[in-house]
């Protein structure tokens, strides 16, 4: 019960934060909606844990909690891959920028 209450409180807090960030135009509508959906799903799952069991049975996993862990790992790996490729791209852009500045400001006595 305590865990459920904590989860719900956290999800409401995150939902409010997402909304505030959207209001201040810190995140786009696309990402705000996506995050809002995630938090709402979390609230639903925390209130009625059986919902995940239904979904788990539908896709062939025994327990809802297991399904949650499996999908979390897949999503996190994908997010890591995305972040790494992005970082690689930023590194390349940084090199290009540093290079252009070096060439533009070349010196000779």
């Amino acid at each position: 019960m305590i865990f459920q209450a904590l989860l719900i409180t956290f999800a409401f807090f995150a939902l409010a934060k997402t909304y505030r960030q959207y209001q201040h135009r810190k995140v786009s509508l696309y990402w705000s909606v996506l995050w809002a959906v995630i938090w709402v799903v979390l609230i639903v799952v925390a209130c009625i844990p059986q919902t995940t069991d239904l979904l788990a049975n539908y896709v062939g996993v025994e327990k809802g909690a297991d399904l949650f862990v499996y999908s979390s790992i897949v999503i996190l790996f994908y997010a890591l891959y995305r972040t790494l490729t992005r970082q690689e791209k930023i590194q390349k852009e940084l090199t290009d920028l540093v290079r252009e500045i070096a060439i533009l400001e070349a010196k000779k006595k």
Partner: protein, 226 residues
């Protein structure tokens, strides 16, 4: 024929002056790329008559060579480019010999090899790792060079345009070999002498950096299209 030397430098104020002084009479222009040094490398290089390009943030030797190449091609209109180290390990009197096959149009790129020539005072561990890296590159790229990680090279204008280094750190050496194959460039390996001093040994590549180079090499193969 306009010959431009490209010298990447990182914290080399103690050695770059002597290197540039010895190099001066063998090339028309010297381009030093200061890779974010914290010492007086820039001032020493300027006083020695080199063009100095400053990387505001350290980007690695591969990135420095590419910066120098673009400057030499775009601004100085170089006909041939010499890759040369700042630390005094290389002998500039070997440049005319390495340049000859480029000047006569026989090949597009000449790669120096300390194992065809001489590696004076080379530490045994360094020799082992260099041989291992060379064997590895030969297997992967399919061309039997004897010294992949030798920084002494001479490139024609055509080769310099074709070889666009995208690996910023040390793995650029095997990237160059890959690009020779991919771009169908004519190459020749020639003997050079590399002198190892106590100072250059201390600053050179460690075993750990050899592992990091291997990581970059694989990264290059998976993230970029060479």
């Amino acid at each position: 024929m306009k010959i431009v030397a490209i010298i990447p430098a990182f914290n080399e104020e103690k050695r770059i002056g002597a290197t540039l002084l010895a190099l001066k009479s063998y090339v028309q222009e010297m381009v030093v790329i200061d890779d974010g040094s914290l010492d007086g490398t820039v001032q020493v290089a300027l006083d020695s008559g080199a063009h100095v390009l400053k990387h505001l943030v350290n980007r690695g030797q591969g990135a420095s060579l590419q910066t120098g190449t673009e400057y030499a091609l775009r601004v100085l209109e170089a006909d041939a480019i010499v890759h040369f180290d700042a630390d005094g390990q290389m002998d500039p009197s070997e440049i005319p010999t390495l340049l000859a096959p480029i000047a006569s149009g026989e090949v597009d790129i000449v790669i120096g090899s300390r194992f065809l020539g001489e590696a004076v005072n080379i530490p045994p561990m360094r020799k082992f790792f260099l041989k291992l890296a060379t064997w590895f590159t030969a297997v992967i790229s399919g061309i039997p060079v004897t010294d992949t990680h030798n920084g002494f090279r001479v490139l024609s204008r055509k080769a310099a345009k074709e070889i666009r280094i995208s690996l910023d750190r040390m793995a650029h050496a095997s990237e160059i070999i890959d690009l020779i194959v991919a771009k169908n460039l004519r190459y020749r390996e020639m003997p050079v002498t590399i002198h190892y001093s106590a100072e250059s040994r201390a600053k050179g590549q460690s075993t750990l950096s050899a592992v990091m180079t291997l990581k970059d090499f694989f990264k290059g193969r998976f993230f970029d299209d060479v």
